[in-house]
């Protein structure tokens, strides 16, 4: 396996965390992983994205020109990254915020109403985890248990209160694709 994901959205939509959870879970399963963030002023309110590679082999370049999967949480992210997706690649769209067509027919598109689901669960903040559930279910690159362990590892201190909700959001996400 050599999965190359770009996860993008507005700053605050939790894409950095989503990427770190995948990387951490990958590490737990003994995979080679890298997580590379976009950084700088764009983190403060603009679009933020990270690149995550999960591979059976040591990873050379942590930069990715042509990802195998894309998660787009908003329209600008979809417009920016969709053209870079490999043929037959997987595009995960947050359909709560994206009402446009991605403009490619040679790829597989998953529409996940992440915001609506998160809202139903009672906290919009877990939209990223809903999306993560859909991503893990669809790609099958890592076990759901590894992601849950990653959540337990990441959500410590104050954030611990959110753990139960996050696991619910994750499980819900896995049912959507």
């Amino acid at each position: 396996m050599n999965n190359k994901l770009i996860a993008a959205g507005f700053g605050g939509q939790g894409m950095m965390l989503l990427g770190q959870l995948i990387a951490y879970a990958g590490m737990l399963e003994g995979k080679h992983v890298t997580w590379l963030p976009s950084y700088g002023p764009e983190m403060r309110g603009g679009t933020a994205n990270c690149t995550v590679i999960v591979s059976d082999k040591p990873i050379g370049a942590p930069v990715v020109a042509m990802p195998t999967e894309i998660i787009a949480m908003n329209i600008p992210s979809m417009l920016k990254f969709t053209p870079t997706l490999v043929e037959k690649g997987k595009l995960f769209l947050n359909s709560s915020m994206i009402d446009r067509e991605p403009g490619r027919t040679d790829i597989e598109v998953m529409r996940v109403p992440a915001n609506e689901i998160a809202d139903e669960l009672g906290n919009l903040k877990v939209a990223n985890i809903v999306m993560l559930g859909a991503y893990i279910k669809k790609t099958g690159i890592l076990s759901q248990n590894s992601i849950k362990s990653a959540l337990e590892h990441k959500l410590v201190g104050k954030k611990k209160e959110l753990l139960e909700l996050d696991i619910k959001a994750f499980e819900k996400g896995t049912t959507l694709v």
Binding site: Q20, A23, M27, V33, W35, Y39, G60, P62, V63
Partner: protein
């Protein structure tokens, strides 16, 4: 071995320093290394160390000068413009033979530039940087795990040769995360004695530390001593990685982040039937000239790839001489080359030499 942890490069650099016996950090925030400064502010008090946020990089380097004078392992971290500001002090430290470790998480330049990864500070790092005749030992990590090892090595080399050492990282190494294993914490009892340090003239003659002598003959003597140290370093400390160099169609010279990207390029090239060899200097100073010269005799082309306009290229040319062609491919301004675009360059070169 220890348990694997997923860690951000900047934080790994800081933790490596602490595990290498460093308890003193003076710094000034600058992107893309600020997480390192923040990490040290949290972590050092836990291990009985001292963190101080200074008023400028100029002050930082002079605080390092002071701390090194009194014999402790000390470091700072900064990014390109900040390291430029420190150059005066680095020159003084080189002249005063004061060990310390500088981590430069390089960003795009010149001037204010940007905050994305770059390799435009190679010449500043390897050719002195400040005024006068001196060189720093310069280590160029290409992964976070290697960065951990090199930071720890940097402290040992600094003490061994009484010289400032620079770890030349870049924004990508600073910002990315990958799983690493940390070595055990170095016991402070095992650190080398420093009888030359300024700890107070108790039961001995006063120690004096300076880069200064108005008598040109005496200053020349000091310079000859520095030169002798440099020769020892050149003889003992060259480090590099070579991969797939036997029977390679083309040899690529690259360091740091580009050195790591090259490993993906080599795989892609193999699928295209091209055999790419990699020469990756780890000590950028001392540069492994002799080994590269030897390798260059077996290929037609040594391609240098950098995130700069061609800086290490100058050292590659010094090593390769007329043995092979020395084309260059670089991206600047903080643009990181993708494996695909580097492969395209390699294909062009191979095609060109076939048609010729």
């Amino acid at each position: 071995m220890a348990e694997k942890v997923l860690v951000k490069g900047n934080e790994a650099l800081g933790e490596a320093a602490i595990r290498g016996g460093c308890r003193y950090y003076f710094g000034y925030p600058i992107t893309p290394q600020s997480e390192l400064t923040e990490y040290m502010s949290r972590r050092l008090p836990e291990v009985g160390g001292v963190f101080l946020q200074a008023e400028s990089e100029v002050s930082v380097v002079n605080m390092l000068y002071g701390a090194s004078c009194v014999g402790v392992r000390v470091m700072t971290s900064t990014s390109s413009p900040g390291f430029s500001l420190m150059q005066e002090g680095v020159s003084y430290m080189a002249g005063a033979e004061l060990p310390a470790v500088f981590i430069n998480v390089v960003r795009g330049g010149p001037g204010l530039g940007d905050i994305q990864p770059a390799q435009g500070d190679y010449l500043q790092a390897t050719k002195g940087g400040g005024h006068g005749d001196y060189r720093l030992i310069v280590l160029g990590p290409s992964t976070i795990q290697e960065a951990i090892e090199l930071v720890m090595l940097a402290f040992d080399l600094a003490d061994k040769y009484r010289t400032p050492v620079e770890v030349l990282a870049d924004g990508m190494i600073g910002q990315m995360m990958e799983p690493v294993e940390f070595p055990e914490m170095r016991s402070l009892n095992t650190l080398p004695e420093k009888p030359w340090s300024l700890t107070g003239a108790k039961g001995r003659k006063p120690n004096k530390i300076t880069s200064f002598d108005l008598d040109p003959y005496k200053l020349e003597e000091m310079n000859l001593r520095y030169e002798a140290t440099r020769k020892r370093i050149i003889a003992n400390e060259q480090r590099w990685e070579e991969r797939n160099v036997k029977g390679a169609d083309i040899l690529v010279a690259a360091y740091g982040t580009v050195g790591r990207i090259m490993k993906t390029v080599m795989e892609l090239a193999k699928e295209e039937g091209i055999n790419v060899g990699l020469f990756r200097p780890i000590t950028l100073w001392p540069f492994p000239y002799e080994r590269l010269e030897e390798l260059s005799k077996k290929v037609n082309t040594v391609l240098t790839v950098e995130m700069s306009g061609g800086q290490m290229l100058e050292d590659v040319k010094l090593a390769v001489k007329d043995n092979a062609a020395t084309p260059f491919y670089g991206r600047m301004g903080g643009v990181v080359p993708t494996p695909e675009e580097i492969l395209e360059q390699i294909e062009k070169i191979i095609k060109g030499s076939e048609s010729a």
